[in-house]
């Protein structure tokens, strides 16, 4: 049961992070195309999303590493 919970936690975290990353990639593409076409500057959300992406993906990396470490013991 514990194994399943740990595995499901990893899968759900990875799925949510992947969903966020997809949204982030789309948002960044739109922002950058708007920026390089000279329409607007980069918005505050651009920076907020980038920071969130770094934090979320770091958390996922740590979670994955912990999961693998515990499974290997």
């Amino acid at each position: 049961m514990k194994n399943k919970i740990a595995f499901m936690t990893l899968i759900i975290s990875a799925s949510l992070t992947a969903a966020f990353d997809t949204a982030y990639a789309i948002f960044i593409s739109v922002e950058l195309s708007s920026y390089y076409s000279g329409l607007t500057l980069l918005s505050a959300a651009f920076y907020a999303m980038s920071i969130t992406a770094i934090v979320l993906n770091c958390a996922l990396a740590v979670l994955t590493a912990v999961y693998v470490y515990l499974k290997k013991q």
Partner: protein
């Protein structure tokens, strides 16, 4: 299965250490029970009965001979689920799953390695443990020297793929978002490129951040100024304002602007309040900028500003509380006032409370006004403020026909209450009035190469421009450095012109018989002048003009003159052409002044520097 055996099995399944203790105290032989193939300790491991294991592990490990009782079906099923392929190792009659084997079955390698050296094992146990790890867990167990080593667990295919996917996802996006962050300035230091008018507007409107112009920008829409605390680096590019800036580029600058060129072409402004082209108030830093400005400005305030303030117009800023340095101006501006209130036109700043340095107004520039006081660099240079290493090459002139207006013109600043040092004026400066004062309301016109009125320190400045004042019947004051100098009442500082020089022609004239004062250094001196020299030609078409080698007039006792020199001219008799005391004009003096025969002699004096 009798009651006690049932109870002991139940206590193991529920990890009820109290019940287990009570039962085994009543009957210690219960510790030797073996439920079919499962000794008590094996069941404890199977059901993860931590409390019982904690209290009884040592006793249970010592048990070698078991009392076999009926096997529990539930336990068997649980064991079967763990054992999988290893189940076949325990199908023979009389087979017992020892605690060590049970630990191997449940894949608890850590506990197994811990207890292994302390348990006696049957012959088959070691080979069973090896097989269990291999069959059920895909791990390798090796026994050597009473030590057990077990390879680490392997992830299942599904776990492995999931972990790899999660790791790749996180690494890719950490790298991606990190790269985005470093490229676009997540740390707040990186400068964003500006490629368009919209982005420039957005940057100024945002008010913070670092920006770099990536190309020249031509404005096409009306510009709205905002406060700006960020930093704008023009990187040598130009902003063509194209007539769209009718207020200023920035309202209040608290950050920095550098390496930008501005073009304000064909201005046609009608002002009802003070205005500057780049920023209304500079509290920050403007450096390495070039400005081209041309056009006309009208003061239409009708004196609305007069009661509370004056109307100022300057190219860079109305009030400079920060730093303006390394600027070049190419100006062709004209401005007209209505004479109902004070009006000023200045090249860099109207009011300087900060520092202005290394600013140059280029040759062929001109600042022409009508009934508006005009100066090359600043209007008011206040106490504590500094203007240094600035050069005016522009033609500066003011004319007025307003009968109540005193025209003032200067190459660097109109009024100096601070410090002006190492500044040059090479442009012609003139002030003229065609008006006639009436009754006893005496009015004057002032023109100075560096300042119109000096109340503080002017040091190491040079004038090579021609200084001219002409009036109808106004008094006239003209000087190569200052038109007039005066110690302010109750001021903690004195008015002093120190180590300055003049070479341009100084002339005063009037259509009527009136007081005209002209000097190589100062028109009218009510303060100090020292270590200064003049090779200026000082002249007038009026015979009654007071023309001095150093000053047109000095005030008795108040004026302090030391170590000054001028080159003799036929029309000049004294260094100070007149001495004034209690409204009476007396004959001139050479106090503190030496007249020299030629410019060559001037070069031999200790005060000469160029």
């Amino acid at each position: 299965m009798n009651d006690r055996i049932g109870e002991i099995l139940k206590s193991v399944k529920t990890d009820n250490v109290k019940a287990f203790t009570r039962l085994t105290e009543q009957k210690p032989s219960l510790l030797t029970l073996c439920f079919g193939r499962f000794p008590v300790l094996s069941l404890c491991y199977l059901y993860d009965s931590k409390k019982i294991i904690g209290c009884f592990a040592k006793q249970l490990l010592r048990v070698n001979d078991y009392i076999v009782c009926e096997e529990d079906f539930e336990s068997y099923n649980k064991f079967k689920a763990y054992a999988k392929k290893s189940l076949r190792l325990f199908t023979a009659d009389g087979a017992v799953v020892s605690p060590s084997e049970m630990l191997a079955v449940i894949n608890d390698a850590a506990t197994l390695k811990k207890i292994y050296p302390n348990v006696k094992t049957a012959d088959k146990t070691e080979s069973n443990i090896t097989k269990i790890f291999e069959l059920s867990h895909n791990r390798k167990a090796v026994f050597s020297d009473n030590k057990l080593s077990i390879s680490k667990r392997r992830l299942t295919k599904r776990q492995f793929i999931s972990c790899i996917a999660a790791a790749v996802l996180s690494i890719v996006f950490i790298a991606f978002s990190g790269a985005v962050g470093s490229i676009y300035g997540l740390d707040g230091n990186r400068s964003l490129n500006i490629n368009s008018e919209a982005q420039l507007f957005a940057a100024i409107e945002k008010g913070i951040g670092n920006y770099t112009l990536n190309k020249d920008i031509t404005l096409s829409k009306p510009w709205t100024a905002s406060d700006f605390s960020g930093r704008l680096d023009g990187d040598g590019h130009t902003i063509f304002t194209n007539g769209q800036i009718t207020d200023s580029f920035i309202k209040s600058l608290n950050g920095g602007v550098k390496n930008v060129d501005f073009v304000f072409e064909n201005l046609s402004l009608s002002l009802t309040e003070s205005r500057a082209l780049i920023t209304s108030t500079n509290n920050g830093e403007i450096s390495n900028t070039n400005v081209y400005a041309s056009g006309g400005i009208d003061d239409i305030s009708k004196g609305a500003q007069a009661e509370t303030d004056s109307l100022y117009f300057a190219v860079y800023t109305i009030t400079n509380n920060g730093t303006i340095s390394d600027c070049e101006l190419s100006l062709n501006l004209s401005m007209s006032g209505d004479g109902d209130g004070n009006a000023y036109l200045s090249g860099v700043a109207s009011i300087n409370n900060g520092k202005i340095s290394n600013c140059v107004i280029g040759e062929k520039s001109s600042l022409k006004t009508e009934t508006v006081d005009v100066s090359g660099i600043a209007g008011e240079n206040n106490y504590g403020a500094t203007i240094s290493n600035c050069v005016n090459n522009a033609y500066i002139s003011q004319s007025s026909s307003h009968e109540g207006w005193l025209p003032n013109a200067a190459g660097i600043a109109l009024n100096n209450g601070g410090l002006i040092e190492s500044c040059f004026n090479n442009g012609a400066v003139s002030a003229s009035s065609s008006a006639t004062y009436k009754d006893d309301n005496v009015l004057s016109a002032y023109a100075g190469g560096i300042v119109a009125a000096n109340y503080s320190a002017v040091s190491k400045c040079k004038n090579t421009g021609d200084i001219t004042v002409s009036t109808q019947n106004f008094y006239a004051y003209a000087g190569g450095i200052a038109a007039a100098e005066e110690n302010l009442k109750n001021a903690s500082y004195a008015a002093v012109i120190n180590n300055c020089c003049s070479y341009g022609k100084i002339s005063v004239s009037s259509a009527a018989e009136t007081f005209l004062f002209a000097g190589g250094i100062i028109g009218y001196c009510y303060g100090g002048v020292q270590l200064s020299y003049s090779a200026s030609l000082v002249e007038s078409t009026n015979d009654n003009a007071f023309l001095g080698g150093i000053a047109g007039a000095g005030y008795y006792i108040v004026t302090v003159s030391t170590d000054n020199f001028y080159v003799k001219q036929p029309n000049i008799k004294f260094g100070f052409a007149a001495v004034v005391y209690t409204n009476t004009v007396y004959s001139g003096t050479d106090s503190g002044v030496t007249a020299l025969e030629s410019s060559a002699e001037l070069k031999n004096t200790e005060v000469y520097w160029g």
